[in-house]
Structures are given as C-alpha cells and as structure tokens.
Symmetry: C2
Amino acid sequence: MTLQGTYDSLLQKNKKAIIYQMIQAQLGWDFETYMPKKGGQQRSMQFATLAADIHKLMTDPKIGELINNIKTDPDYSSLSDIQKRNLYLVEKEYNRQTKLPADLVEEIAKHQVIAIETWKEAKAAKNYAMFKPELKKSLDLQKKRAHYLDPDKHPYDVLLDIYEPNMTSAMITRLFNELKEGLVPLIKKIQSAPNQPDTSFLSRSCPISIQETLATDLSNVVHYDLDCGRIDTTEHPFTTGYYQDVRITTHYYENEFDNALFSTMHEAGHAIYEQNLDEAFRYQPLGQAASLGLHESQSRFFENIIGRSPEFWEYYLPRFKELTGDIFADIDAQFFIHAINHVKPSKIRVTADEVTYSLHVIIRFEIERDLSEGKITVEELPTIWNQKYKDYLGVDIEDDSEGVMQDTHWAAGLFGYFPTYALGNIYNAMQLHVIRKELPNYDDLVRTGNLKPILEWLTKKVHQPANLYDPADLMQQITNEPINTKYFIEYCTNKYSKLYAF
Amino acid sequence: MTLQGTYDSLLQKNKKAIIYQMIQAQLGWDFETYMPKKGGQQRSMQFATLAADIHKLMTDPKIGELINNIKTDPDYSSLSDIQKRNLYLVEKEYNRQTKLPADLVEEIAKHQVIAIETWKEAKAAKNYAMFKPELKKSLDLQKKRAHYLDPDKHPYDVLLDIYEPNMTSAMITRLFNELKEGLVPLIKKIQSAPNQPDTSFLSRSCPISIQETLATDLSNVVHYDLDCGRIDTTEHPFTTGYYQDVRITTHYYENEFDNALFSTMHEAGHAIYEQNLDEAFRYQPLGQAASLGLHESQSRFFENIIGRSPEFWEYYLPRFKELTGDIFADIDAQFFIHAINHVKPSKIRVTADEVTYSLHVIIRFEIERDLSEGKITVEELPTIWNQKYKDYLGVDIEDDSEGVMQDTHWAAGLFGYFPTYALGNIYNAMQLHVIRKELPNYDDLVRTGNLKPILEWLTKKVHQPANLYDPADLMQQITNEPINTKYFIEYCTNKYSKLYAF
C-alpha cells in the first residue's frame, strides 16, 4: 500500500470510532433529558455494547501496524503537518488504550459505579468515614492506571495529560501560586469595600417561559447556532455533540433567573467552540477541542468576560427588561451589574463567583497533587480541606457534605481534571488581552451587542485550530507569550476595583 | 460445542443485532422529534454505519453454520418449542438477508431516496407523469427482490410475508371481497340515513396545553405506561421502541382536538403491545410483535373499539369536560358520540372514519396485486384508482395528489404493506367477539373506565405470545376460528345502525 493509502486506512478506522462516539454522546444526551424513568436497563445494554465496540475499534492491532508502517515509510517526511498531527493523536490514544490491562479497565469501571453510589449516600449522611475507603481505592486505581500509562512520569502528570495534554503539575503549581498571591488579597479588598451590592432582586419570581425566551435570545446574541443545536433542561447543565449537532442544557428556577441566564451563556460558550471547529477536520482525530482547559476558556469567556461585563449589560439590559416585562423595571444598570458580580467567598465551587472560583479549584488541585505524591493521606483530607477553605477563602466548613464531599469528580475517578476549570480563566484572560489589541473597539462592540467580530476572532484563533496543537502551544501561538496569570489577575483587579470602588 | 451452547451462541449473536436496532430506533426517534435542523448530515453517517454493521451481524456466515449445526444435531428434537421458534425466526431472517445480492440492496436503497423526493415534487405539482417512471422502477425492484427471496412463490406473497408472515394474496382477496360486500351497502345506508351528526363543535378552539393534558390522561386511562414511554409531537404520529422504552408521538392542532385525542389512543395501542411483550423473550428473536396486522389490531382497538365507543364516552365525557373547562360544556354525550363517529366517504385514507377506512386499503391492495401479476400497468393507474374510488366510495378524485399519489408507501418501495391496516380491523373485531364471551361485563368495564381487565386479556392473549406464532395461527389460538370478516362487519353494522338509527 502507498503511504497515502496506509494513512487513509488508518483515518478510516478512526472515523468509525468517532461515529460510534457520536452515537454514544447522543444516547447519553437522551439519557439525561428525555429517557423514560424505567428505560435505564435497556440503555445500559446499549452503552455497554457501544463501549465494548469502541474499545475494540481503538485497540485493533491493525491500527498499531498501520501506525508503524507509516512511521517507518521512507516517505514519512512527505506527510503534511496536519497528517502528522492526526497520526500523533491516533498513536497517543492507541497507546493509552492498549497499555492498560483489561482487568484494570474493568476494575476501574466497576469501582466507579460503587464509589459514586457510596459518595451519594455518604454525602446525604454527612459521613466522610463511609466514603473514605472508596475514595482511597479510587485514588489507588488511578495511580495504578498512571503507572501503566507511563511508569517514568510523575503519576499526576500522566493523569493531567488526559484532560490537558502535556500540562505538568510543576507548571500548574507555579500558575496557581501566582493566582493565590493575586486573588487572596483582592478578595479581602472586595470584602472590606463599603460598596456592597444589593442582590435581593435576583430572587424575584420570573416565569420559566420568560427564562426560556431569554435563553434562546441570549444564544442568538452570542451566535450559538440553534439550527445546529438546541437547549433542554437537566439538573446539571452540560454541552454535548459534534459540529452540526451540539446541544446544551440549562435549568430554570423561578426565583433564580440568573442561574439559567449564566448557565446558558456558559454552555453556549462550550457549544460555540464545538460548532466552529474547522470543517476540514470533521471525522478526523484533529476534529476536537484542544483541551478541557481551552474548552473552559470559551465557556467562561461567554459566561463571565462577556456575560458579566458592564459593557454587555449596557446593550442587553433594555432588551432584558423588554423580555421580562415589569418584573425588573425598577432596576438600573449599575445596580444590576453590581449584583451579578457579587463576590462572596463561599463553600460551594459550582455556585462560586468569578473571582473566588479559582481558589476552589486551587484547593482541589493542591490536595490531588499532595495525595498523588503521598504527602498527605485520605485520612487527613477533611482537616486539610477545611483548613485551606479557612486560609484561602475565610470560610468555615461545618460538615463534609459541603466540604470534601461536595463534588462527584473524585468518586468518578477524575483526578487531574479540576485544574482545567481554573486554566480556563487564565487562558481566556490572555485571549482577551490580545483581542483588545487586535480589536481596539472591543468595548464598543460589546456595548452595542455586535459580538460577531469577537466571535470571528475566537473562531479563527481558538476554535478553528481544533486539536492541531497542545494547549500550551496553541496559547503561545495566539498570544505570543507563555501561559501566565498576569492578565487574569489584572482583569479581576480592574473590573472589581471599579465595581466596588476601591 | 453442546447443542445448548450452540443455541446460546446463536442467540448471543442475534442479541447484539437487536441492541443495535434499538439504538437505530432511538436515533430515528430523535431524528423525527428533537434533532436540530442541520443535524441531518451527521445523523445519516450514523445511520449508514449502524445499518452496515447490523447487516454484517445478521449475514455473518457463522450464523448459517450455527443454524446448520443445531438442525443437524442428533438431539435437535430435545429443543423446546420456544427454542425452535427462535431458531426458525433467526433462520428466516438470515435467509432473507443473505439471499439478496448486495448490489440489489444498494440499488433499492438509492432508488428509495430518489423515488420519495420525486413523489414529493410530483405530488406538490399534481403531476403523476413525473412520478410514474420512479414508481415503475420501485415496483420492478420489488418484483426482483421477491424473485430473489423465493422464485417459486407468487411475488406478492413473498412481499406480504415480510409484513404479515405467511399471509397470502389469495386469502386477502377472499377476506377483502367479503369486506367489500359487507361494507359498501352499509356505507350507503349510513349515508342515506336522515340522522346525520353535527360535527361543527369539533373545530372549536382547544388550547394545546389542554390537549397535552388530555393526551397524558388518556394514556393513563388505557394503561400506556409513561414510566416506560413518553409523548412528543411530529407531523405524522408514530410509535417506536422496545419493552421498557416505547415512545409515541402525536400532533396538536388548536381547532382539531379530536386529531390528537384519537392519534394518541391509536399510538398508545401500538405502544401497549410493545410494552407488554413477554419479558422472558426480551433480546430474543421472539421478543417482537407477531405482525403489522396484529400491531394494527391493537392500535385500532384502543382508537376505535374502545376510543370511539358510546360506552367509553359515558365514562370519559365528564372527565373530558372537566379537563377542557367550558369549551364543550354544552355538548351532550349522544351528540358528542355521534360526531366522533361521523361516517363520510372521502378521498384521503389517513383521515378516513372507521367504516370507510378498510375500503381505502382494499383499493390499494387490489391495485398492488394486479400490478404484481401484470394485469394492470403503471400507465393505467390513475384511471383505475379513480374508478375504484367512484365504485367503492362514491367519491370523485379531481387530481392525482389526492388520488394515486396521496401515500408515500409506494415511493418507499412498500408493496404488500397496505393490507395490514385492514387486517387490523378484521383481527380486533374477532378479538372483541371472544373478549365479550370471556368478560361478560365488558360493556360495564368500558362504561366505568375500568379497562384493566380488558388490557389483561389482550396482554395474555395477544401481547405476551409476542412472535411465538404466525398471525393466522395466533388468531386461531385466540379465537378458535380461522381469520374471517364476519365479526368486523357485524361490529360495524350493530354500532352504526344504532348511531344512525336505521
């Protein structure tokens, strides 16, 4: 076979796995949204069958052969950079899938179900002791997994790489230490500022039908294409899909309109990324986001950098008032903007504001890193957790349900995942800095709701490259700088010193 | 391998195909209900991949070997009747799938897309000449298909067998001739009766939210289990799913509340059949309805025999009035019942009433049969069609869009499918006759909305046997009679002579 023929065969095999993953995602969406109550047993048969087939497709020894044939072909260097990147991505995934012994994969899958069930019970019972043994086992299994994947690397770096390719623990430690140094004093300043917002109007009753209209309207405003997507409701909002069918969910609470509003903007940001990947890469390994951190940079760009900016509400508040009738007629722009930017250290990550959010993530990262290095034990976890919440956020954790057991990630075996949430903030502040240079009228664009040029910039620089580069390389290309926290700290300092007038 | 081991392997292989078909059905449901406008291209990749894999699973030569090993095993006779039936069904499907040359399968699939597109255009343009060549090709391809499947059988019988196993053209000709003889004079009597209903209230405005409540309420009343199902909307209502996840669709028109009401009852009847198949047969070849005719017997049982009965509305009208507020407060039971049983010969099958409906189907059957035997040609079709509508229903067809081009079936290559619609009426009238003997208080049960004993009877006699028998054998078992039209004609005569007072 010619080199091109071998390459095409390899991509053809991979394409089939991608199509099965799309089907898997679609069934997952239905599971979360519309599946009848008792449909679970049948759905799990479908999931199991698909998962086994995808695993078989991705670990087919023929893939190893094709990769080897390409790499040893005398004309290898004639491949384009795009072809080489596709090859690299297939090989990386093939190695990841084939290096793990089948019994470990099975053990992890089985343990995950038990650990999540136990976590739910333990959380409800506020009983960490109940969860502890399962958490310990989750951690041990992930360490084992990391060892199989690469025995020579720091186990936490191996896990990080799954979510944020080639990111290291050392790098994150440096970035997060800078963030702490910048944010902890800023939060103290904000808290002690006399000018605190009145947020009481946020709990005014706002009919769900109005919130639905708002969600659709905001999707249109930010150019989330609903001809290639849709909005449904779930308890935990999420985004799923691929290119021309990328769906988001939100949730509507009558007395928390801001919840649906910002979760819609957040998920729309994720969806926009997927919808705008380079069409040429569809059905190729390249046709996916560069990393979870990059993904989060886009969701938080639309949720926070645009969605909570004073400029955006200059444009959108009149429209918001029009769509909500008389409910918020008495609320002026400054009042509204201050309220949706209320900074208040709290115990729960998912409802944290833009400034304190990163500290929640930093706490989880430091614990994960120290656990993986054996510096701390699962025994000590609640004590360490509570101390860090006191030190960084100044809050007292009263029970472990709102402390160390608040998130499902560790039960699900997701170690190395949390840092991507805060990396999103770091990345998008860096992007914003460049956008402001390249679109000098950025503020005016936001002020007039003309987000198209901004979307086009993001599409060209962030979305279109898809998975052509690892995140650090992509960020370097976009910004001409290594990853750094300077712009996020600056962004927060500027925005909040104005809002809180200090 | 032991005989049992071989049998288990065969069923295991088949089970995988069943699970893929469930996934296919789920993606089809999403395609019709919630898929974003531009999701079609990606969905078609998913469909094509699944279809190819299912075909591969079902034509795997290993299946042929396993079947052969079982049938030649000296202990073959030790298999239970259930095991033998499963074997029979797998073998029948295996033969059907492997006998067709791949290029014919492909040609049929490709032509179907073209023929449906052309049919849509020709129908819109009221131009039969445009559709004619595609229709001719559809027919030729289906004749070819029948020849490959069984060159020794009447081609129409081969096609019929796909939808109504082992039904023959001769048998249907006999049954449908009886129906014509019984129904044509009955319809004339009904038409000439002085006592015609006033149906004007059927077009009163009824808000869609109320119609939704009615649909859910009626589903509960007929015991369509919404914990294992759901109701959504599509232009053409349908039912899809399997055992614990069987979904129906309906459509709501503000000025035709009866449309949603009876389509919901109809589809709920289909869904109830699927939900009540014997649990022991799930994931086995046996775990499906016996035929499309039997399926239609259940949908029409709930739509017509229960749903349009005077007894049911004695029970349900007060509740209907309660749920619809003041809208129908002035309509009394007799008035209401007469209106929903308005018999009026018309041009369009899908909106036909209970009595004239069968004649629409008979016309299509006679044409299909005569076409397949070469007694008539595609050229003559409109003339023959229009003449039959004049003779059987007394209506004048003005253009071919409302005549020979009204249904999509022929464009889709569905020859041999139409008769199952009228067989449903024949079957369920026979079932009703036995139910009335075995549940002497049948009328009282309906009158009090206590449908549970009736559902239990249907479940035991019709649903639970699933695909254990061919339809004629199942009907013989249930009724102790060969299939006959006596009870349907009696049912219509009794019901409508009372309603129209003749």
